[in-house]
C-alpha cells in the first residue's frame, strides 16, 4: 500500500496553516502505511543562503557542528536544518563528508526541508513539529515497505536534487537497470530502494534542462512498474500515475489549493472541501502546478 498526502497552496494567506493541514492529512493515512513516514515542506528561503537538512544518530551535537561552521541551525529531533551561504556550499559539503561520516545530508535547496523516520506517522510528524510549520507546498508519505527494509533511509520522500523530492505508492520493476544507467551519468544513490531511482531519474532529467512536466513525461517511457508519484520542486507540484493505474489517487482543487490524497478520507477536513473540484488523476497523464513567482 503506502499513503500519499500533498498540498500545494495557491492562496498565500493559508501558508501558516500548511503544516497543520498536512499533518492531519498524513495521520489519516496511517493504515495505508504504518511502518514509517516522512514529509518535505517548502518554507521560507533567504537570499544568498541555502538550507541543508541533516540527519544524525541520536545524541549528535548539532549545535557544536553549527558553531564550528559558524552557521545558524534549527534542531528538529534527530534532524537539523542549517543555513549555508550559497558561496560556502561546496566547502560545507566537504567539511561534513570529511569530518562527520555519521551525518547524512538528507536534502538541500533554497526552501525545501525534508524529515523522515520509522514509526507511526502521527509520532513522526510530532517529533519534527510538522503541525507548526508553514510554507507554500508540502508532500507527505506513509510507508508500507515492499521493495526494501523498514529504515529511515528507506522512508519517503526521497530527494536527489536541490529543492526536489518525490514520494511513491507502488513498486518499480526495472529500478536496478535504471540505477546503473544513472550512476554512469554521475547520479548518486544512498539506498537500494526503487523509489530513490525514480527520484534520481527525474533529477537527472531536470539537471539536463527538462521542465518538470517534460521530466514526468520521460518517466512514463522509462520507468516500468506500478506507481503513483507526487513530486515537488521549488516552485512546482506534480502528479503522475502509471498507465495501469492500480494505485489510488484523489485530487481536490479550489481557488485556494490543490490537494492530493491516496484516498478521499485524507482530504475531508480541508477548508472548502465540499465545494472543491474532486477528480481522479487519469493514468499516464502528467499533472503539474507551478507557483507564480
Amino acid at each position: 500500500m503506502c499513503g500519499i498526502a500533498g498540498l500545494f497552496l495557491k492562496n498565500r494567506a493559508l501558508e501558516p496553516e500548511l503544516g497543520a493541514m498536512t499533518a492531519a492529512m498524513l495521520e489519516v493515512l496511517t493504515d495505508r502505511g504504518p511502518d514509517s513516514a516522512g514529509f518535505a515542506i517548502y518554507g521560507d528561503g533567504a537570499a544568498g543562503f541555502m538550507k541543508f537538512t541533516l540527519r544524525a544518530p541520536a545524541g549528535f551535537d548539532f549545535p557544536a557542528l553549527a558553531h564550528e561552521l559558524q552557521i545558524a541551525v534549527t534542531l528538529r529531533d534527530d534532524h537539523a536544518v542549517i543555513q549555508v551561504p550559497v558561496a560556502r556550499e561546496a566547502e560545507v559539503r566537504r567539511h561534513l563528508a570529511a569530518g562527520y561520516p555519521m551525518v547524512a545530508v538528507v536534502a538541500s535547496g533554497s526552501r525545501m526541508e525534508l524529515f523522515k523516520g520509522v514509526g507511526l506517522p502521527a509520532l513522526v510528524s510530532k517529533r519534527f513539529g510538522l503541525a507548526g510549520m508553514s510554507g507554500s507546498h508540502a508532500i507527505a508519505h506513509t510507508r508500507m515497505a515492499t521493495e526494501s527494509a523498514v529504515t529511515t533511509q528507506g522512508a519517503h520522500p526521497f530527494s536527489t536534487g536541490p529543492d526536489q523530492c518525490l514520494v511513491h505508492n507502488g513498486s518499480l520493476s526495472n529500478h536496478n537497470d535504471i540505477r546503473r544507467s544513472l550512476i554512469r551519468e554521475h547520479m548518486r544513490f544512498e539506498t537500494q530502494n526503487d523509489t530513490e531511482v525514480a527520484a534520481g531519474f527525474l533529477s537527472w532529467k531536470l539537471r539536463e534542462g527538462a521542465k518538470l512536466d517534460e521530466a514526468l513525461t520521460a518517466a512514463l517511457d522509462t520507468l516500468d512498474g506500478f506507481y503513483t508519484f507526487v513530486v515537488g520542486t521549488e516552485s512546482g507540484f506534480g502528479v503522475l500515475r502509471d498507465p495501469v493505474a492500480c494505485k489510488p489517487a484523489v485530487m481536490a482543487e479550489t481557488d485556494d489549493y490543490v490537494a492530493f490524497g491516496s484516498e478521499y478520507r485524507a482530504l475531508v477536513d480541508l477548508p472548502g472541501i465540499s465545494k472543491a473540484k474532486l477528480f481522479e488523476p487519469e493514468p499516464a497523464k502528467v499533472y503539474f502546478w507551478e507557483r507564480a513567482a
Binding site: 498507465p243 495501469v244 493505474a245 489510488p248 484523489v250 484516498e263 478521499y264 478520507r265 485524507a266 482530504l267 475531508v268 474532486l278 477528480f279 481522479e280 487519469e282 493514468p283
Partner: protein
Amino acid sequence: MSSALKQMTRIEPVTFDLAADKLRDLSVALHALPPQTNQTSWQILNPRGQHAVAVGVTVPVSIQIDGHVGYYCAGMNDGAVITIEGNAGPGVAENMMSGIVHVKGDASQAAGATAHGGLLIIDGNASARCGISMKGIDIVVKGSVGHMSAFMAQSGNLVILGDTGEALGDSLYEARIFCAGTPASLGADCEEKPMTPDDKAILVDLLQRAGAQADPGDFKLYGSARTLYHFHVDNAGAY
C-alpha cells in the same frame, strides 16, 4: 387502514451520523435486520470517505448515504436500494447480488466488479476497470469509463453514455457493452456487434430504469468475438 394502525406502522427513518456513531455499529444494525423488517428507511450522514459503508445488506431496505464514501461501499448488496449522494471509492457495489446502487457523483475503479445481479447506476464518470469480471449485473454509467472496463466480463450489461478508455471489453466472455460515445480502443477479442431487437429492448429498459436521457439509436453494441474460448494449437509456440 385505521389511523391507529397507520400510527403503529409509521416507522421513522433510522439515522446514523458516522461523525459520531461507529461504522461497526451501523454494520451490526443493518446485518441484524430480519427479512420482513418495517425499518426500511435508513439515512447515513458524514461518511467522510470511510470504507465498507453499507456492505453485505441482505434485506430490501432503502439506504441513503449523504456524502462521499471510500472503498467497497454497498459491496455484496442483496436486495437493498442504496443511494450515495456523492462520489464512491474503489469497488462500489462489488459482488452485488441484487438490488440497486445509485452513485450520484463519480465512481473510482472497479465499480460493480464481479457482481452477479442488480443495477448499478453512476450519474458521473467511472474510472478504470468498471464492471471487471461482471457476472450478471447491469451497470449504467451516465458519463465515461476508464481503461480495461468490462475486462473478462462474463454476463450482464454495461451501458456507457460517454466514452471509454483503452481496451474496452478485453478478454470478454458473454456480456453486452452498449456505448454511445467512442471507445479509445477495444481489448483483445472484443468487437462491435449488430444490435438485434432483443438487445435494443434491453438497452431501452436499462436507460429507462436508470433515468438516463439518451437516444438508444446513438449506441453501438460490443461483445465477444469468441476466439479466445478455445486453445488454438497455432499459439502453442507462445508458451
